[in-house]
Subunit: 327 residues, 2 copies
């Protein structure tokens, strides 16, 4: 049998990355800023080119299956998945500062032209899949992944089943309404939803500094920044409590840029908001740090189409160091 | 082959009901107030007696399987499901006005002594199961059931999978924190959770009248009652929006005493709170009235163990009229 290869595609609002892998591990990774101009097919067409380049670089003739981890939301047009992502599609953005007027991106239609074996999944859901296979919640049937970064996204797993929903949008709990009095406005237009209140973008706006500056100042003990960061962590904790009582999940894995750098001192604040409520439901609910770090998106995409027979070897060898020099 | 019979048990904070059914339909139903005194085994032991009485009355020698629809929360002790329900177990109630000091009720242990084929499920989850089989959301893979009554409980189904969670407590979204400034205290101790704010009990407390009086006055246009009822409906709508964006569900079935009598005029208020937000996620999210009404608990319990080969006949004949005279 010919050697098998798989491709992974990670689509974010800022950058896209493609990876090519064999049973031996990740062979090549390429990344570039997310293309936001041209026709509605421009971005998926460009991603196909990138994937082809990665194959050439790795000496891979063709990939047998492609996994896609993408920011959402998704919708369906004629049965095929399209991206309706306000931070990529100009026609969906209130700010309307994007160099296109896309109402949707026909992601599945374009990718399927070249890749019949294709799995597309919300990025936080793919991340949870990867954390369950190789990270912090291996074999845990009831668990949650949340990324705290520019935005806030969730992946949800209940009874061993990764939740998809009617259009693959399960996990958009970042748009859960948390406060009736907050003046924080989310990119989706909501007032007082979780993402609006705690995203790096919003915290930065409130102090007129970058998100990194806000959290570093908070760690250093600067009162205004510390209060803002702690308040955000309390809101995240309340949202995680909401998710845990809604789904009866046990482990909550937290990742994303904010958590990678500041999870150490924010964790007790978040955990306290969960554990101080309804003991019968929260007794064994606990938060964990993500196990795959910045690699979670690449591994998430690949894991969607990872052949079953590679699994044991990947778990043992964790072969994703190669090709990471380009990050 | 001998004729098969099944039993259904519905355990609520106020009353318990048992039903016995054959392929022909429900044969007998008995109901009585929930026993709250005696040993920790008193309630399940009494339920076994009731089921035996129902069998005798129906001329049924023995039931082959028993389905239990019960109020929660549940916990597990030595692998077996126990009830840790504050409105039945005296030791868990802050008010401590219950005539017992139970910390938990060994429901599964006692019932299994006589019934090896046993399925126990949260009542709102069982209700959703019944509504999916025989009610308002037949064959809908992404749907929610919510009961608005003395309390507020949810059943959740995503990708055709009825969510259970680590202890069968998925769907306790009534304890989702909704407001940071509400002074409504829930029975669980939360301040500002959905149930605390909109349960019949809380609304009645605020106007010093029974829940039925409050909603009837609201329907008649009495300003204070109308404002209270509409505000409650808006909070329910916000919570349903939260659940829908978290799970990407489509249909929301609403039942329970409040909705049965006032859903007609409250529905537009609830729907508006959902549809006015994040169009990409809420476009086809719609609320429906429960299809099984007050029978949902009995049918929910039976449906947990309904033999596959009875299904088509039950769907066609809807044979649950008999034995209902005792309601």
């Amino acid at each position: 049998m010919a050697k098998r290869f798989i491709g992974g595609i990670d689509i974010g609002g800022t950058k896209v990355a493609v990876t090519v892998a064999s049973e031996d591990g990740i062979l090549c990774r390429l990344s570039e800023p997310t293309l936001k101009s041209g026709s509605e097919e421009a971005l998926p067409s460009r991603i196909l080119e990138l994937l082809q380049m990665a194959c050439s670089k790795a000496g891979v003739p063709v990939v047998d299956a492609v996994g896609v981890s993408s920011c959402g939301p998704f919708a369906r047009t004629e049965g095929q998945l399209v991206l309706v992502t306000p931070n990529i599609c100009g026609a969906l953005s209130d700010a309307n500062d994007l160099p296109n007027h896309w109402e949707s991106i026909p992601l599945e239609r374009v990718l399927r032209r070249h890749h019949a074996s294709l799995v597309i999944c919300n990025d936080a859901v793919a991340a949870l899949h990867a954390e369950r296979l190789f990270g912090a919640v291996q074999d845990e049937p009831n668990c949650v992944y949340v990324t705290w970064s520019t935005g806030v996204g969730f992946g949800l797993c209940v009874d061993g089943h990764l939740l998809g929903g009617k259009h693959g949008n399960a996990g958009h709990a970042g748009h859960m309404l948390m406060s009736e009095s907050s003046d924080a406005v989310c990119g989706c237009g909501n007032r007082g939803d979780l993402e609006g209140m705690i995203s790096g973008r919003n915290l930065a706006r409130r102090l007129g500094r970058t998100p990194a500056e806000v959290f570093n100042a908070a760690r250093a003990g600067e009162p205004a920044a510390l209060e803002l960061a702690a308040e955000a962590a309390r809101w995240l904790g309340r949202a995680l409590y909401n998710v845990a009582v809604t789904l009866d999940t046990r482990s909550i894995v937290i990742g994303g840029a904010v958590w990678e750098h500041h999870g150490d001192w924010l964790a007790p604040v978040v955990q306290q908001e969960i554990s101080s409520r309804f003991a019968a439901l929260t007794r064994d609910v606990h938060i964990l740090h993500a196990g795959l770090g910045a690699l979670v998106a690449d591994i998430g995409a690949l894991s969607l189409v990872l052949p079953e027979e590679w699994m044991a070897g990947w778990r043992q060898r964790r072969p994703w160091g190669r090709g990471q020099a380009d990050r």
